[in-house]
């Protein structure tokens, strides 16, 4: 089902007008179309609606995603991209190429991967999308060509027979390399996982975030990490902001949620979830903790604190 939604603050009539026009256009190609006008701050309203409706996919235009000023001020799609509770498709509506792409199905899909567990989820989603649209996903690794061989072998081993994979690699800064390759080779869609997107708008170093601001094609950000404890799958962990504090939350295989302070016991950096090894890894000095917070690798000498201990 397609749910067309718009958010408004005061102009309810205008919102209904927009929805009616959009629904008329969409009914030609969708068997079932519903509309919804939601009052409130647009990004928050859309994210909440997607969560309430248990949406599989949220689609937004890319207005306000490009340019330094837009980045600093933030835009509705940008804010949505950092809290989407599901996959997010950002459609290129603001570029000169938008009209060219507007009536076509996706033909060429570039899937960025480093063979991590989270990026493999993006590969699977892209493959599923490719089966429905006829577009074959091409895997892309940004980095050393010899390491690319390792990455593609890992993907093949974990997911597909090697012969079924189309691959490409490029060097340089990963986000730049992905966007440049997609543009030069004429891809319609870039697919990335959302790892790092939920850490905030100003974590500018994360690859999907930078791709979301630089890409000149449509971008599918696959939800591979969660934004709330309720969304955590069994065996999954995530750093989640609760009451201004960063909590390292892990849901074990029996469904029990374990909450720890996300501050590394060494120097206080915020740890990140390593889905491959089910560990909490500190990006600053390399300390590692098991899923329950016990230190397994220094320089930290003590485990992650309980949230209340960290506050006290």
């Amino acid at each position: 089902m397609l749910l067309i939604a718009t958010a408004y603050r005061d102009a309810a009539d205008r919102a209904q007008e927009i929805l009616a026009t959009s629904a008329r256009a969409a009914r030609d190609s969708w068997p079932r179309v519903d509309v919804r006008a939601v009052r409130g701050e647009p990004a928050e309203a859309m994210v909440n609606l997607a969560r309430d409706e248990r949406a599989d996919l949220l689609i937004v235009g890319n207005k306000g995603m490009t340019g330094r000023v837009a980045f600093l001020l933030g835009s509705v799609p940008d804010r949505i991209s950092h809290s989407a509770p599901c996959d997010l498709l950002i459609v290129k509506t603001a570029s000169d190429d938008a009209a060219r792409h507007s009536e076509t199905m996706y033909r060429r899909m570039l899937v960025a991967t480093d063979a991590s567990q989270t990026s493999l989820q993006a590969v699977r989603r892209a493959h599923g999308l490719g089966e429905r649209t006829g577009a074959k996903p091409v895997l892309f690794y940004a980095g050393h060509p010899k390491t690319a061989e390792i990455v593609f072998n890992e993907v093949a081993r974990a997911y597909l027979p090697a012969g079924m994979l189309q691959t490409a690699s490029g060097r340089g800064d990963p986000a730049d390399a992905i966007c440049r390759f997609a543009q030069d080779e004429g891809y319609d869609l870039i697919v990335v996982g959302n790892r790092g997107m939920l850490d905030g708008r100003f974590r500018i170093g994360t690859i999907p975030n930078r791709v979301s601001h630089q890409a000149r094609t449509d971008l599918l950000i696959v939800k591979t990490t969660s934004a709330s404890i309720d969304e955590l799958a069994n065996g999954e962990g995530a750093v989640i902001r609760i009451g201004g504090e960063s909590i390292a939350a892990y849901r074990d295989d029996s469904g029990t949620v374990h909450r720890l302070s996300a501050r590394c016991a060494h120097m206080g950096c915020i740890v990140g979830w390593n889905a491959d090894e089910r560990t909490w890894d500190c990006p600053c000095h390399g300390s590692r903790y098991d899923a329950l917070g016990t230190v397994i690798h220094g320089p930290a000498t003590t485990g992650l604190a309980k949230p209340d201990e960290a506050q006290g």
Partner: protein
Amino acid sequence: MYSWVVFLHVAGVFGFLLAHGASVAAMFKLRTERKRERIRTLIELSATSMTAFYASIVVLLGAGIVAGFIGNWWRMLWIWISLGLFLVIAGSMYPLASGYFRRIRIAVETRPSGAPMASAEEIDELLGSSRPLLVALVGFGGILVILWLMILKPF
């Protein structure tokens, strides 16, 4: 009182050099090391020295600022330039050095399947980069200028 504060300041400098010396030595040793286990050990050694490094920075900065007040040095330009230079060096060293160490640390990890995270060629390229020289140049050169400012007090 002033002499004791300067003593603390200089003690902080010694602590800083001792702790950070471990990182500098590890960084240069990494350039010729190719065994992943030994690379991991060197990086862990460097990371372990960070606690003492930051503690000594707090001591040297705190004592230096207090000594500036007691000695009435804050009316002089050299102490402001020294402090500013120190902040610039610290601000540039952190991304230069920590980014370098982080990339190597990740590169020598092993994937759950047992496959290496990065190829031997990439590790060779990373370790052979000129980054350690740049880090040493910025750090050592900056500290030399600060030392000159503090000893000669030219402004």
